[in-house]
Symmetry: C3
Subunit: 310 residues, 3 copies
């Protein structure tokens, strides 16, 4: 692995190895220890689409390890406006940085960028394509809370049609042998080809519109935001949006160690009264984005963490 474009770039062993390194990063990410193993290294943060969480967590990851960050900044005032191609912009970054993170509205842009340069490139979202570091942090969160990625009952809820997060996570969980429940309004159900691929590879899948019917059996509920603008009719949206909203009282029958996740930002899919339940893990999940990215940066920059930390 020299770049990370999709989760298919990683074997299961490599995923586990990254999660193990991420585990070691926890005290550094919390500011309890300072181990500047990336000092002198420069990350280029290339967000051709706005991002707060992903951008800032990569920046935090780099700085917690002593590295530096160059921000492309607002694309509307960058050289992109003067007609520069993505290829040329990437050549510039090849000379300025040791590694680049790219988010771009065009599917395939991260792969194209990675092919254009010698430095490692991390895909932080390419349109309807992939967002593998979100999947890494999701897996880290699940393993952290349940001690394993295997044999879990995981429900993915909300917009399963357009959400690149849930597509990628489904595939990854399937590789580790978890069972999946897809809960969505029919208009936003998981794309047929993804469901078919998963079933072909032997994954146990349930599809339903019944939000809370199976809650007692679940280990993970992964909520996503349903975007109003996907619906032609606002009335249709309101019906659906109202149903897929988790509240504290919905959780009475849940397993004690069932966890609720969300890639954030949330709007109203999870009521504030859920925040104080022991099930709520979405804020911890956001924090785990820092350690997952720290681990990935170390791997791609070929820093031997064991040696550096000891």
């Amino acid at each position: 692995m020299t770049s990370l474009i999709t989760m298919d770039d990683l074997t299961n062993e490599e995923i586990i190895s990254i999660l193990d390194i991420a585990e070691q990063m926890l005290p550094i990410a919390r500011g309890e220890a300072y181990t500047p193993i990336l000092s002198g290294k420069v990350l280029a943060n290339l967000f051709f689409e706005p991002s707060t969480r992903t951008r800032m967590s990569f920046e935090a990851a780099m700085k917690r390890l002593g590295g530096s960050v160059l921000n492309l900044g607002d694309v509307s005032t960058s050289s992109v406006v003067k007609g520069e191609t993505l290829f040329d912009t990437m050549q510039m970054m090849d000379g300025y940085a040791d590694i680049a993170v790219i988010r771009h509205p065009r599917q395939g842009a991260a792969k194209y960028s990675s092919d254009a340069v010698e430095i490692p490139v991390i895909n932080a979202g390419d349109g309807a394509g992939h967002h593998p570091t979100q999947t890494l942090l999701d897996l880290f969160t699940i393993r952290k809370c349940h001690g394993t990625l295997e044999g879990l009952q995981v429900a993915l809820v909300g917009d399963l049609r357009y959400g690149r997060t849930v597509h990628s996570l489904s595939g990854a969980l399937a590789r580790f042998g978890s069972s999946l429940t897809f809960i969505s309004p029919s208009s936003l159900s998981m794309p047929r080809e993804i469901v078919q691929d998963l079933r072909n590879s032997g994954v146990d899948i349930v599809e339903t519109e019944d939000f809370l019917g199976s809650i007692e059996s679940l280990d993970v509920i992964y909520m996503t935001r349903i975007q109003k603008e996907r619906f032609p009719d606002e009335e249709e949206y309101r019906k659906v949006a109202g149903v897929f909203c988790l509240t504290a009282k919905d959780l009475v029958n849940a397993k004690k160690n069932m966890i609720i996740m969300h890639p954030l930002p949330r709007v109203n899919e999870i009521a504030p009264d859920v925040d104080s339940t022991p099930h709520a893990k979405y804020f911890e999940q956001a924090f785990y984005g820092v350690v997952a990215r720290m681990a990935l940066l170390c791997r791609l920059l070929e820093v031997d963490v064991q040696e550096a930390i000891e």
Copy 2:
């Protein structure tokens, strides 16, 4: 003290202690010494309203001490636009940073943010509310120039009605026993309740529209910007704005060690010919913003400066 929301969070002893630490920071802030006592620490700079001076001086303060800064960046392209609540944004910061600085248009937002997270929060202006680090640097400047905060004659000039800076400074100076002269057009006079509170606590206060009448007796003239948009009638504005403009020739009767301060940016309240007089301290005052913030960051991050520096 675990956060700084208003000056009321600090005892007089704590204020003096912060000013003492700020004094020790001077060579580091000037780049004459480098003591990275905050290395590995991460500050989140959350400016929901634009700011140049306050934002950059916090950033300089952190970096002079070896720390790192995460900028939320332009709010119009952040997750706030996707409907994220301030509570949720703060949870994210709680996971990314060791301390946060927040400026927000809504009064009370800093307190709300501080209550939402475990990391210390510094209020850098909450609408018509408070801006305590401005007061700390103002106090530092006065003490630096006069050697004391006690027994001084301080005039506050200009827009005393809307300026949070002068409200907060009045209260702080009163706590140290200085006498106050409030000089403003009647339409922009200090709010009645503030004047009453100060008088009730025994402070000697003069209110006047006469700009330069008492200049011989003053130790400090604190100028502020009169904002045109406060006046319904441009003619009214012009009359007032012209009168409250300090020029070098106005200073002939001033005490030798009288100092002129301004929170900046200035527009035309202080003529450029004042800049080269020994009274002009507003640019030094801006610089002292760095040391005052360095001291505060060390306090809130619980770094023992004495031990670290020696």
Copy 3:
């Protein structure tokens, strides 16, 4: 030299000395070595006009050497909007940073800024004025590829009328005894006074509209972007733009070690098939911007590189 406003601030010896230091910076800029000789130093990046390449390469230069960067950020939301003068903004920077880089739409703004403060100021472009660090990196690239700045045949191509880059580079190359060929449509030819000055100082100059006629004799082809908006008539633009486009097949008669340069961003002046020829040096040139700026920062901050590196 305490600031760098135009190339006239540097003697030939000083230029050579900066290029020599830049040479030593190569492994650090490539991330192969980390020598934080500017740790604790703070650079203020003041871009009153948008810039991607120059801004990011100064930032990379500073960070590769362990220094920190303060960005003024988007001018449309800065204190400049509140009516602050450039003089006052610079006073603030004098207190926050050890050195400042300024790009400003107004010719003369860099000199004015430099006169206003005690810290060194680097001109990164002042309207139609100067952009000396571009010239330093251009000279570095030429010397790196040809081993010398003397006795070369250099063609400058494209918009020679408005481009501050080619004005400044012509003068510098002339000082080192290279011969110049100016290739442009007549409407965009090199200003008469520049040509006259160069000829008066004994430089060998050819002016032509014939793009490729003399290619066999050239050591350097320096391409520039022709901006559509310079032409009153789009038809006129298209005729010219089509002619001044370099393709791989144009290079068959070129010397083996002839190099092609471009300040970037390019639009269509150089076809992508040129990129893979050994003549293409424009991406390396962009990278050399980092080392040239590293060297300059060390010089102006008075860091003894020899001593620091050994």
